[in-house]
C-alpha cells in the first residue's frame, strides 16, 4: 500500500432486508416478513385501542374534560409536564 494514500475506513454497510435474512429461502423469507409486519400492525392497533382509554383516565385524574378538542388545551395549562408525557406517549 502506498504511503501517499490515506487509509480510509469504510463504514459498515447498513443492513438491508437481504442481509438480515441471508440464508433463508425466498418463500420462507416472505412469510417471515409478513409475520413481522402483522405483529407490528397489532402493536399499532393496541396503541389505537388504548389511546382513548388513557385519555379518559388522565382526564379523570386531573379533573379535565375528556372532550378531545379541549383536553390538550387544559392539560397544557394545568399539567404541562404531563402534557409532554402525553405528547410523547401518543407521538403527537
Amino acid at each position: 500500500m502506498s504511503k501517499d494514500k490515506p487509509i480510509v475506513t469504510q463504514p459498515e454497510p447498513t443492513p438491508g432486508i437481504g442481509s438480515e435474512l441471508d440464508g433463508l429461502p425466498p418463500e420462507l423469507r416472505d412469510r417471515f416478513l409478513q409475520q413481522i409486519e402483522a405483529d407490528q400492525g397489532e402493536v399499532l392497533k393496541q396503541a389505537t385501542l388504548t389511546e382513548d382509554s388513557w385519555r379518559g383516565y388522565l382526564a379523570n385524574l386531573f379533573n379535565l374534560s375528556p372532550n378531545q378538542a379541549t383536553f390538550y388545551e387544559h392539560l397544557s395549562m394545568q399539567a404541562p409536564a404531563l402534557m409532554l408525557f402525553v405528547q410523547c406517549m401518543f407521538g403527537i
Binding site: E20, L21, F32, I36, Q40, W54, L84, F85, Q87, M89
Partner: protein
C-alpha cells in the same frame, strides 16, 4: 420528578391497587393456560401476592413492575383467575364451575384456551354453555400450534411450517364456529404458541379489544412481551440478524419514551 408526574404515578398505582386488571383464563387441564399468562405478562417472574381458592381453583394477584413508560417504574398488579384442573375430575368440576360463576362477573375479560390438536370439543362446549350467562367478553385462544401434525414447526423462523399453517387456518375456522357460537358475544379466535411467543401480539390485541374501554390502559401497562421475544427463537438467524431486524422493524414496540420530559 414534577408534581404532575408524581400525581400521575401515585394515581396509576392507586388505581391498580384498588381494582387490578383481571383476566379469567379457562380451559381444560394441560392446554397451556399458565404458560399463556406467563408469556404475555411475565407472571413467572412476578411475585404472586395472594392465592385464594378451593382445591385447585386459584385467584392470584401478581405484582408486576411495569417498565412500559421508559425511565418510569410503576408498581402494578394483575389478577388471574384460573382452575388448572378443569376437566380432570367430574366431582371437582362442579366446584370449579361454582367458583367461576362467582368470579367471572368481576373479570374484565375471559380467555378461553384450547389446544390446537384437540378436536373433541364437547367438554369445552358444555362448560361454555354452563357459564354463558356470567361470561364477560372474551377471546378464544388456540394454543400449542407447534404440536399440529406433521409436527414440523419451522425452527429457522420460529413459525408454523407451510403444512401446519394450512391446517391451522382450518382449525381457526372450525373452533370459531364450534365454540364461538356458545358465547354471549362473538369472540375473536386467535391461534398462537405461548412456548414460542408466536402470534402473541394478535392475542394481546384481541384481549385488549374485549376489555372494557375505560380499563384497556391498565392491560397495556402490564404487557411484558415484545416481538423480539418471538424473534429470539428463530434459530435460522444470527444474533446480528435478529438485532438488525429488531432495529429496522420493531421501533414501535419499545414502550414509551420520556425523553421529551427531560428537556
Amino acid at each position: 420528578m414534577s408534581a404532575d408526574l408524581a400525581r400521575f404515578k401515585i394515581g396509576i398505582e392507586d388505581e391498580f391497587r384498588k381494582a387490578p386488571p383481571t383476566i379469567c383464563v379457562i380451559g381444560l387441564s394441560g392446554v397451556g393456560k399458565s404458560s399463556t399468562i406467563n408469556a404475555m405478562f411475565g407472571t413467572r417472574k412476578a411475585v404472586s401476592g395472594s392465592t385464594r381458592g378451593t382445591h385447585r381453583f386459584r385467584a392470584d394477584t401478581f405484582d408486576i413492575e411495569s417498565g412500559r413508560v421508559d425511565g418510569f417504574k410503576l408498581a402494578c398488579q394483575l389478577r388471574v383467575i384460573d382452575a388448572p384442573g378443569l376437566g380432570e375430575d367430574v366431582d371437582l368440576d362442579e366446584g370449579y364451575l361454582k367458583n367461576y360463576r362467582t368470579h367471572l362477573p368481576k373479570c374484565d375479560v375471559a380467555l378461553w384456551v384450547v389446544a390446537a390438536r384437540n378436536r373433541a370439543l364437547a367438554l369445552d362446549q358444555g362448560y361454555i354453555k354452563t357459564l354463558r350467562k356470567v361470561l364477560p367478553h372474551g377471546v378464544i385462544g388456540i394454543n400449542q400450534v407447534d404440536l399440529i401434525e406433521p409436527l414440523d414447526w419451522d425452527d429457522r423462523v420460529n413459525m408454523p411450517s407451510l403444512t401446519q399453517d394450512k391446517v391451522l387456518k382450518e382449525i381457526v375456522v372450525d373452533r370459531q364456529e364450534k365454540l364461538g357460537r356458545f358465547f354471549p358475544n362473538r369472540p375473536k379466535t386467535v391461534a398462537y404458541s405461548a412456548r414460542h411467543y408466536w402470534n402473541l401480539q394478535a392475542l394481546f390485541s384481541a384481549l385488549i379489544e374485549s376489555a372494557p374501554p375505560q380499563r384497556r390502559w391498565m392491560f397495556d401497562l402490564v404487557k411484558s412481551f415484545s416481538t423480539s421475544d418471538w424473534l429470539a427463537g428463530a434459530k435460522g438467524l444470527t444474533d446480528a440478524q435478529r438485532r438488525a431486524l429488531a432495529e429496522r422493524y420493531l421501533s414501535t414496540d419499545r414502550g414509551m419514551t420520556m425523553d421529551a420530559l427531560k428537556r
